[in-house]
């Protein structure tokens, strides 16, 4: 059985989305900017897609939602344009973000740091949440931007966006939130939250890869990230990818209506809780971060004595896809910053397994996953040096930092 539990990495395209996109490859392939009917024939569907996008996040018609290639582009656009527009003139030189942001924000901020920009990376508390007070305390006269995520990709923890939005508004600081992991899982209402900008990515809510968006509140000045033609009202050049826009619009509609969100919270949340409870019955397992106020599909679990990548190997053999907080196989070999942010237990950083569900998971799949997870834990603990009986007369060089 194949059980896909890595939906925070990417999701399958909903077949209804795929159907909507299909005509725009071989039939309605015109350039929307052309004056002929082959091009203009695409307009009604583009307009419909934009309606879904605006409705999905409750944007005002006077606001802009600019189509980008992905949330990474949207995030980079915000950070680098703030640098171009508000920092290079010398009046402001400070950006506030968190330690646990996606690399699309932290790497862009690291880059600007090398250019002389002062960046504050706020830490999360022991529950894995960024506190609004921490943002308030960090804001200075020269703060140009606050950028913090709506929901954390590893733990699913929701950040107090509305409170942070109010603080930024009061202090007159531009506020951006990366909502990539929030859309389709919780209600994202840009007007209620008081954000100036949010980023999102279609493939995280059963839309296609290679398309995302940046919401920009009316009146917010932001230099274009890509100059060229007059597409997107001159804010982002490049021929419109009609199929992707239509697909993202449909995916947004399917993911954000009231029924969909209720299903996500009830059905997906129920399956997540079932999985989590079953794993927690295995001795020496904990959920990382507080279990309240998080997206309904995500759980990050530490299994003592079981290294994350080894666990993934065993799960993968049994058709189960998950993700690990340990980055043992990546280029930099450092543990995930989210895991490190919890700080106190270094072993924890290498035992984290993230399970992220979607509306396409079934109870049968979860039952199967639970069985295979138990088997994997049993096998790997029988090999584990840190979960074994320790003889008296032996020498140890293990560092328990």
């Amino acid at each position: 059985m194949q059980v896909y539990l890595d939906n925070n990495a990417t999701t399958k395209v909903d077949e209804k989305v795929f159907e909507e996109m299909t005509p725009f490859f071989c039939e309605m392939y015109g350039n929307p900017n052309s004056l002929h009917s082959v091009g203009s024939a695409t307009h009604p569907k583009i307009a419909e897609a934009f309606d879904y996008l605006y409705e999905g996040i409750n944007a005002d018609d006077e606001d802009d939602i600019i189509i980008t290639a992905n949330a990474t582009e949207a995030n980079n656009w915000v950070v680098k344009s703030v640098w171009l527009d508000r920092i290079l003139d010398g009046e402001k030189n400070h950006i506030i973000t968190s330690e646990v942001e996606h690399p699309a924000i932290t790497a862009a901020c690291n880059y600007l740091e090398k250019k002389g920009v002062d960046i504050t990376y706020l830490t999360v508390n022991e529950e894995g949440v960024l506190e609004a007070d921490a943002v308030a305390d960090a804001i200075r006269e020269d703060t140009a931007l606050v950028s913090v995520m709506w929901a954390n990709n590893e733990t699913g923890k929701l950040f107090p966006i509305k409170e942070i939005g109010a603080i930024c508004k009061e202090k007159g600081v531009l506020f951006h939130s990366d909502a990539t992991q929030a859309i389709g899982k919780v209600k994202v209402d840009v007007q209620d939250a008081g954000v100036d900008m949010i980023s999102f990515s279609a493939h995280k809510f059963h839309g296609p890869k290679g398309v995302g968006g940046l919401y920009i509140k009316k009146g917010v000045q932001l230099s274009p990230y890509m100059h060229g033609g007059e597409q997107m009202d001159g804010r982002r050049a490049g021929t419109l990818d009609v199929a992707s826009i239509v697909g993202m619009g449909k995916a947004m509609q399917l993911a954000t209506n009231t029924m969909a969100l209720a299903y996500e919270i009830n059905h997906v949340g129920m399956l997540r809780d079932k999985l989590e409870k079953a794993i927690l019955k295995i001795p020496d397992t904990i959920v990382i971060g507080d279990t309240k106020n998080r997206t309904p599909n995500t759980t990050l679990i530490s299994i003592k004595g079981v290294e994350g990548e080894a666990m993934l190997w065993d799960l993968n053999k049994n058709g189960i896809s998950a993700s690990t907080g340990s980055a043992c196989a990546s280029e930099d070999l450092e543990a995930n910053p989210v895991m490190n942010a919890f700080g106190s237990d270094s072993e924890l950083a290498h035992t984290g397994i993230r399970f992220s569900l979607s509306r396409f998971n079934t109870e049968e799949q979860i039952d199967y996953a639970i069985e295979k997870i138990k088997e994997a834990v049993e096998r790997l603990r029988s090999i584990s040096s840190s979960y074994a009986y320790t003889p008296k007369n032996h020498v140890s060089e293990l560092e328990h930092n």
């Binding site: 290294e307 080894a310 190997w313 070999l333 290498h350 090999i383 040096s385 074994a388 032996h394």
Partner: protein, 326 residues
């Protein structure tokens, strides 16, 4: 590598069949008890190596036959990824039947080669090579415990890249001999830094005392010092070389001529001079000087004396030198 790097892919696809087999079914996992060792007329040695903080740790159990120093029992436990489990399993197997002195010669390279399906195809992707290093270190630890010595005593040279087992001395030699300027060149020439990349700069899998980028920088600086020293100690430049000298070298050359030929002449009359500046102007070298003492009020300072100084410099250094007084 560029195209392959752009496409990417699962590192698991790059594991050999032996690695996969040992990950799934390690043959030597487990432990040896005191009683079991005693039954083999052996001493039980248990050694740990690694750090859970960096994600990998291994525990090695040896039963060492008391009369022969031969390893007659070898088991392991591991906290680590699949590669760490597989390489620990192979390492444990390689120890079996060897004496402690023979076992300590097993390196991570031996472990990696033993996991290859074919001699020329690496068993694991480059970034996983570090997982086999730990296996080597735990053998040293176990051997040191058995012999009652410091584990460092088995390491004669200072290893910088543990994946490729390249020493600091080797790196310095290769950089100097081949005039290497970049980390990429070092990787090409020595393979150091080409695997887990921890040894290149801080921020990798584990902290090091010294990194490849430090060695490259220090060695390049040392090479530059050696070059300048050689130049300084070389025979006097002939006139044709004055133009190609750096400004510092020109200053030194002029000072040397002044010291040898000009200053003694001026001092005899109660005067002196100092070099103020050198400027390259329209293909000429304008040497600005300031007279000191009696020379500063001498009537021939702008004619005869000036001509003598200029001629001396031209004769010894370059015909294009012009001397200007301030």
């Amino acid at each position: 590598m560029a195209k392959a790097s752009l496409v990417g892919g699962s590192i698991w696809d790059e594991y050999s069949n032996i690695v996969v087999d040992r990950m799934n079914n390690p043959k030597h996992q487990g432990h040896i008890t005191e009683e079991e060792a005693e039954a083999m007329n052996a001493t039980l040695i248990v050694a740990d190596f690694g750090a859970e903080s960096c994600g990998d740790a291994v525990r090695l159990y040896w039963a060492v036959e008391k009369d022969t120093d031969k390893i007659v029992g070898s088991k392991f436990k591991s906290f680590g990824c699949g590669t760490a489990i597989a390489s620990s399993d192979i390492m444990t197997e390689l120890c079996m039947g060897k004496t402690v002195d023979e076992a300590v010669k097993i390196t991570n390279i031996d472990v990696e080669k033993a996991m290859r399906d074919t001699p020329d195809t690496p068993a694991v992707p480059p970034q996983k090579m570090h997982c086999s290093v730990m296996a080597y270190d735990v053998i040293k630890k176990a051997a040191a415990t058995y012999k009652g010595v410091d584990a460092e005593s088995f390491e004669e040279e200072f290893i910088i890249c543990e994946c490729a087992r390249v020493t600091q001395d080797t790196l310095i030699d290769v950089i100097k001999i081949n005039d290497l300027k970049t980390i990429e060149e070092i990787i090409d020439f020595t393979k150091a830094g080409g695997f887990c990349k921890s040894c290149i700069k801080p921020g990798g899998h584990e902290a090091k005392d010294i990194y490849l980028e430090d060695i490259l920088k220090d060695t390049r600086e040392e090479m530059e010092r050696e070059r300048l020293t050689a130049m300084a100690n070389a025979p006097k430049e002939d006139k044709a070389d004055f133009a190609s000298m750096s400004m510092v070298q020109k200053t030194r050359a002029i000072d040397a001529v002044v010291e040898e030929y000009v200053r003694p002449m001026l001092i005899m009359d109660g005067g002196d001079m100092e070099l103020v500046d050198i400027k390259e102007e329209n293909g000429n070298f304008d040497v600005y000087i300031k007279y000191l003492g009696a020379c500063s009020t001498c009537s021939t300072g702008s004619t005869g004396t000036l001509y003598a100084i200029e001629s001396t410099l031209k004769q010894n250094l370059d015909d294009r030198i012009r001397v200007i007084t301030l």
